[in-house]
């Protein structure tokens, strides 16, 4: 029982880490960021390459890959998304195409000497090794680290969006873009920053979560679904909703794994999404009450 609870909380924190970047970008710049999952996988790939191909130390390669991912997010906005801003269908299609191109491109084999990654053997090192043994439960330190990072990140994001000039400007954009423009907030610059930070958050999640398993391209799709699931179940535009939605999903998937095996997790997540959409379309803590208001 204690084990299910603690692993459920860990899984919940993983969901939080995956969702926070996506909901940050979408809530603020109203830009769909399909590339979220791709950035997640890309970070793992870059870090792995730094460590194994160039022999850089772990901490340096993490920092470098986070910087690269930040720049990638900015580049995606600056060169592509900026041109289709405000056209919803084109926005979706373009960002979907970018995401797929990255994810499927990472699987390419042997074109121009590039070796994509398929199969096992691509594992990121852990931050800390070791197990924590208590009378009721045994847990490895990496999972505890996930909880700590998740909590820190949530606290940091709350402070950032409530007590920082850039954060406040970002929130202003989310609430009313035209009014924000009138007050001298540069909307393109803010969207740029939002996409950059969102990508960095995805990268951070990758670095903390990925050591638990292999790096695979499929996890890019999983991350995207999980982020969406948290956003829909918790409700848009609510931090409490995000945390609670993630915890519910984490507990549910942990219990499911304990009973039936992990392959049914996707089905479970979908079931929950559909259930929430039928029962309470605005999400558990959504602030948008109207059905059709859901963007």
């Amino acid at each position: 029982m204690g084990e299910v609870l603690i692993y459920g909380i860990v899984n919940g924190m993983i969901f939080v880490l995956m969702a926070v970047g996506f909901s940050f970008v979408y809530g603020i710049s109203r830009l769909p960021n399909f590339a979220h999952g791709s950035i997640y996988v890309t970070t793992g790939f870059i870090t792995w390459s730094f460590i194994n191909n160039t022999g850089l130390p772990y901490w340096l390669s993490v920092i470098l890959s986070l910087i690269i991912v930040f720049l990638a997010g900015v580049a995606i906005y600056q060169f592509v998304m900026i041109r289709v801003r405000g056209m919803p269908i084109s926005e979706i299609i373009v960002s979907f195409a970018i995401a797929l191109a990255i994810l499927e491109g990472l699987r390419l084999q042997g074109i121009g000497g590039f070796k994509g990654f398929i199969g096992p053997g691509y594992v990121l090192p852990r931050f800390i090794d070791g197990m924590l043994e208590t009378p009721w439960v045994t847990i490895d330190l990496q999972r505890l680290l996930i909880i700590a990072v998740g909590l820190l990140l949530l606290g940091f994001m709350w402070l950032f969006t409530h007590h920082n000039k850039i954060g406040l400007a970002l929130r202003a954009m989310a609430q009313h873009e035209r009014a924000a423009l009138m007050l001298g907030i540069n909307s393109d610059r803010m969207a740029n920053i939002a996409l950059g930070i969102g990508s960095t958050l995805a990268g951070l999640a990758a670095i903390v979560v990925m050591p638990l398993g292999n790096i695979t391209c499929e996890s890019g799709y999983t991350v995207l679904t999980n982020a969406i699931a948290v956003c829909i179940i918790g409700g848009l535009g609510s931090w409490v909703g995000t945390i609670l939605g993630a915890l519910i999903l984490g507990l549910a998937t942990t219990i499911m794994s304990a009973i039936g095996g992990t392959m049914w997790n996707n089905v479970l997540i979908f079931g929950l999404i559909i259930l929430i959409l039928i029962l309470k379309p605005s999400g558990l803590f959504g602030q948008q009450k109207e059905l059709q208001e859901r963007v």
């Binding site: 373009v94 970018i98 797929l100 191109a101 392959m263 996707n266 089905v267 059709q292 859901r294 963007v295």
Partner: protein
């Protein structure tokens, strides 16, 4: 230094203005001008299978027809109703599995399986996507995108319907001509049918939902109901494509839920001309042979579709067909400002 400023001027051709009203039937020239694009599409599609060399390219053409149907379904939903559904493979899979399953387990003939799969499959898809209809934009897109993945994992994890092996053999068409003309006929029927539909009253409501659903809601229209109609029509097209592929290839498997069937129709649609209905079909006719030539490269094809998508949206958002039809209807010339 004085710089010469020029701008491009576009003028309608005289004959375009003359063919707009009742005067269209004034002379053979006007009638030809009006009919030529439509007739060339119909005749071109009907003659194409006869002039193609060999069985291989005829099969490619049939596959292009399948992609064209999916592209039409995507185009109709996205650019006429405003629901961006990027999970076209799901309709394919549902249609294919129903008709394949009926043939495999119960031995029903093709004349029954395809209609049943089309109608029932569309009903299933619509019912499954029904709860997602209040969602708009990205959320609807991502959820529909995840449905094929979900279906694959259910079929494999549950060991249902032949699991990873798939169902085989499924009864094929009596000969290839039946298959090819069935799919090409359906493509033509879909293009002209959807165009007619969008001109009807309900088509106006569709356009209203796309542009401003709050306004449509305010005029007392139940937009969820209208969206359900649109979804049913679009999934009918997709499920037919799936059922056709099941019989055409004589095999049903999880490959029906493959990413190709979701992405390539979108690329075809954007390339051909979003919102034009005939454009996506043309795009599919261009892209399908291209992707057939690249079959050896595997994953590179999906990357290629994505690059085509991004390039066309950024640099040629009107698509090929709009560009061609502008040439047909208008004169362009540079004038001094």
């Amino acid at each position: 230094m004085e710089r010469e400023e020029r701008r491009k001027e576009r003028l309608d051709r005289g004959i375009k203005a003359r063919t707009e009203g009742l005067y269209a039937i004034a002379s053979w020239r006007e009638i030809t001008y009006l009919l030529a694009p439509r007739a060339s599409l119909i005749i071109g599609l009907l003659i194409l299978p006869l002039v193609l060399p060999g069985l291989y390219w005829q099969r490619v053409l049939a596959l292009a027809g399948v992609y064209a149907l999916l592209a039409l379904s995507f185009d109709f939903l996205a650019h006429r109703v405003g629901l961006v559904c990027i999970g076209g493979a799901f309709m394919m899979g549902i249609g294919g599995y129903i008709s394949g399953g009926l043939n495999y387990y119960f031995g029903l003939p093709i004349a029954l399986t395809i209609p049943i799969a089309t109608l029932a499959g569309a009903l299933i898809c619509t019912l499954l996507w029904l709860p997602c209809l209040p969602l708009r934009g990205v959320y609807f897109a991502i959820i529909t995108f995840m449905f094929p993945h979900l279906a694959t994992s259910i079929i494999i994890a549950g060991g249902l319907l032949g699991s990873t092996e798939g169902l085989s053999p499924i009864k094929g068409f009596p000969n290839i001509w039946v298959g090819i003309y069935l799919i090409l006929g359906l493509v033509l029927l879909t293009i002209f049918g959807l165009r007619r539909l969008c001109g009807e009253d309900i088509g106006v409501v569709f356009a209203g939902i796309k542009d401003n659903d709050q306004a449509v809601l305010a005029s007392g229209v139940n937009i969820t109901r209208v969206k359900i109609y649109a979804l049913y029509i679009a999934t009918l097209i997709g499920c037919f494509a799936g059922a056709f592929v099941a019989h055409f290839s004589g095999f049903v498997g999880v490959s029906l839920f493959a990413l190709d069937f979701s992405v390539m129709p979108i690329a075809a649609c954007i390339m051909g001309g979003p919102g034009t209905l005939a454009g996506p079909a043309l795009g599919a006719l261009i892209l399908a042979p291209l992707s057939e030539l690249l079959r050896g490269f595997g994953q590179l094809r999906v990357v290629l579709y994505c690059v085509i998508l991004v390039v066309f949206i950024l640099f040629k958002p009107e698509g090929l067909l709009s560009w061609v039809s502008r040439r047909y209807h208008q004169i362009e010339r540079w004038v001094k400002v």
